[in-house]
């Protein structure tokens, strides 16, 4: 009896991510959701610029590589010409919350029927650990070597809270993948975000609080603790908007 296997929606390509990075878990959760909904053959993913730039090699679905921050606009084009297909973007914090903020907000306010997986690890990983729009106050990075000074660098952007103020979006939830319980919740949220699209409900964004042991300068284990101690208190987990629960589902 088979008790465990790789999701069909992942390819056999070995992941390039650093040890302890949670991208691998999140990729798996996305692939499981696609498998469970039986939508692999009609799903198209949009990869960002950032650590997950090569996600197009890992998902066994048609993929498009977008310019930095532009994934929601690319996804909009894809969805508008193929409304029956399932379109998701997979984006990091620099991509989604800095250079691509306009694309994010406007896709949300159009209630584009797409699914966004937003991976927030409070740092630019691929370029070697610079300050992100979500870096915490006081967080030391390559471009905030004395710690993020909110007086000059501003405050972190709480994407889920901000987007939930819009009238349009269907579903916005923040989850984490730093322990088994949180991974299970994350799986449920990601599955729901895809299911919403299958049912034509509209824009769903799942913010996944993630790690970057390499650029945080922590061991994988300590990085998971840092999520609990520093990240989650600033970025509380939970459902920020769910039109179904509000009885306003479309």
């Amino acid at each position: 009896m088979k008790v465990f296997s790789k999701p069909q929606s992942l390819t056999d390509a070995p992941l390039h991510y650093c040890p302890g990075c949670t991208h691998g878990i999140i990729h798996r959760l996305v692939a499981e959701a696609i498998d469970e909904l039986g939508i692999q053959g009609k799903t198209i993913g949009v990869a960002p610029v950032g650590c997950s730039v090569m996600a197009y090699n890992y998902f066994a679905v048609d993929m498009v590589e977008a310019a930095h921050g532009r994934a929601p606009a690319v996804a909009t084009g894809l969805k508008r010409c193929m409304p029956e297909n399932i379109i998701f973007t997979y984006q990091g914090d620099g991509d989604l919350a800095s250079i691509g903020m306009a694309e994010t907000v406007h896709a949300a306010t159009r209630n584009e029927n797409i699914t966004i997986i937003f991976v927030n690890n409070a740092i630019y990983g691929m370029t070697g650990g610079q300050m992100a729009p979500t870096s915490l106050p006081g967080q030391v990075t390559q471009t905030s070597p004395y710690g993020r000074d909110v007086k000059t660098a501003g405050y972190p952007i709480k994407v889920s809270e901000m987007l939930s103020q819009l009238d349009a979006p269907q579903y916005i939830e923040r989850v984490a993948v730093n322990n088994v319980k949180n991974v299970k919740n994350a799986k449920k949220a990601i599955l729901k975000a895809f299911k919403n699209q299958v049912e034509g409900k509209g824009f769903s964004l799942i913010e996944v609080v993630s790690t970057c042991p390499t650029n945080w300068g922590l061991t994988p284990e300590k990085a998971l603790q840092w999520v609990d101690e520093k990240m989650i208190p600033y970025y509380p987990l939970g459902v920020y908007k769910d039109k179904d629960a509000e009885g306003k589902g479309e």
């Binding site: 390819t11 692999q40 053959g41 009609k42 799903t43 198209i44 949009v46 730039v53 090569m54 197009y56 090699n57 998902f59 066994a60 679905v61 048609d62 993929m63 498009v64 590589e65 977008a66 310019a67 532009r70 606009a73 690319v74 996804a75 909009t76 084009g77 894809l78 508008r80 010409c81 193929m82 297909n85 306009a102 694309e103 907000v105 406007h106």
Partner: protein, 353 residues
Amino acid sequence: MSEKVLMKGNEAIAEAAIKAGCRFYFGYPITPQTEIAAYMAKRMPKIGGTFLQAESEVSAINMVYGVAGAGYRVMTSSSSPGVSLKQEGISYIAGADLPALIVNVQRGGPGLGGIQPSQSDYFQATKGGGHGDYKLVVYAPASVQEMADYTIKAFDVADKYRLPVMLLADGTMGQMMEPVELPDAEIKEYDKSWAVRGTQMKREHNIINSLYLNPEELERTNFERFEKYALIEKEECLYEEYMVDDADVVLVAFGIASRISKNAVNEARKQGLKVGLIRPITLWPFPVEPLKKAAEHAKGFISVELSMGQMIEDVRLATECKRPVALCNRTGGMIPSPEQVLESIKKMLSEVK
């Protein structure tokens, strides 16, 4: 034969695009091309197409990239400052070898510039525009009829060679009204097996991408793309010659400048001066051969442009600097008069003898 209707150049582009099978338009308002968006907003919902006013030019071109990746005919339009914003996306579309139409109804620059007609985006359109090694096929229509005809042609060429094509017009071409005939376009089917439309569990996944971290691989994709460009130079170059055979002075002009130049040629001929005109219809590929041939007998060339002189560099290259090349120009939204062109013809004739 379909009947002739009176249309603005901008509207002719929009209707021709629909005739060419384009059902997806993404844009952002900017003068002097907004009629294209307005026309699409009205028409697209009636024919099952999509009109979407994007949050920015940057988003609009990336929506185009998405639809182009799925292999459907798609376009965007803008004017100079907006086209600058689109350059990032155009580079990605070129790098991923996707077909799409980008319309630039040019206005004066640089910066916010003005809203009057200009041809000062010639360098941007013909020399790449965005980052990296790439080219666009660039059509320069000179009448409302040509706005329609080359829109249709542009979609076909984009599909045939899998590359972005630009229609480079200007404020005059966009705003003026002329009778135009819009016959149903013949839409050829091209192989779209590369497109992302879902694997349907029947094939390996397709990837639309311009990232190659291995430099040897990236170099190879560039070499292959330029083989395609070499073929396009051979097959797709278009131009018009007017009274060039015996001409002592050959004017070179495109778009609205070519119409003014034609008037100047007619006036010069009346006065017994041997003057002709070469009008590039494709700015890339640039009509090198007719210019080279004309350089065998012409004593000089005049590049007539609504810019500080951009195409003039290509005229010099094409004629291999064998003959003097002068510039007759206005810029910033100003348009040269036929009299100004005639004066520069006489000046050149007095200098070259």
